[in-house]
Amino acid sequence: MNKDVHKLLQIKRYEMPSSDYFERFLDEFHDRQRADLINRPTLHIFFERLMSFFPDFQVPRLAYAGVAVAAVLFSATILSSQKEAEPARSFALNSPAVDVLPVSQGAQRLPLSMRADLPPHYVLETRPVSYETPYSF
């Protein structure tokens, strides 16, 4: 141990506020506790109290990685199953998917571009708004 450095550092013991500060400190502490109780969400209080009964419990670091991997796998499974379940969209006239809706009932309500009883329709039915001149003179 370096005795000179040790001696010099002991001067820092005196860098303290006056005793009045410590008198006021407790009052301020009470005020802050009251404010904390009012502002803190109930769920947060519940969780904190729950955790205070298990002070030694710590989530292992690898658990976070495990949860992340599980989340990725789960979402991948969901996405792939959705893709499989989705009917094949085809607008070809001989597509079986088109035959599902009877022309007389459902197809009448479909937009022109999807109706199987009509030839393929690649022309825009309405003029896009952006094509219109912004000002009319």
């Binding site: 002991q10 001067i11 005196y14 400190f25 407790l26 002070p55």
Partner: protein, 198 residues
Amino acid sequence: MAEPEAKEEISDEDLVARTQGGDPRAFDVLVRKYSSRLYGLVYNMTSNHEDTNDLLQDIFSKAYRSIKGFRGKSSFYTWLHTIATNMTINFLKKRSRNYRMSLDDVDSGVHNDPEFIELTSGPDARREVNLKELQQRLNEAMMKLSNEHRAVVTMFDIQGMPHAEIGKILGISEGTVRSRLFYAHRQLQNYLQEFLAA
């Protein structure tokens, strides 16, 4: 008539048990007892009185909220100091490097301290040392240390804690405490060369 019971020191264990039993006044006694000591610990790690005040409030709030989980495996003193050190180190990690130092309300009692008198009245270069300048330089030197080294220096050199206690608070071995102290002293010696020249 004298009041012998009122003057009797109540042990920390009793105060903790009473707080756990729902008596908030018992915790007030603990706050009064440890606020000054913890102030020294936090201030010497942050070098800022405003930050110290805020942190100290947070530390006692956290201790009060967690006291039901305190099982007495260590002393309350160690437990409270562990909370204070961890919270201060976390705070310092978040705080920007442009810290402010406030020495305005420094206690003038240092002028009567034998260590200070010896340092400033000898027939050497230390005679002309100005208190504010010295404190400023000490703070600057302390802030150049890593948070972990500063914690050890604060507890050992300034607060006078034994190595074993520091080890318990920081969760490290006594050997690690000693090696951190050695390294920190060597660094401080370089920064404070002019004040140490005899």
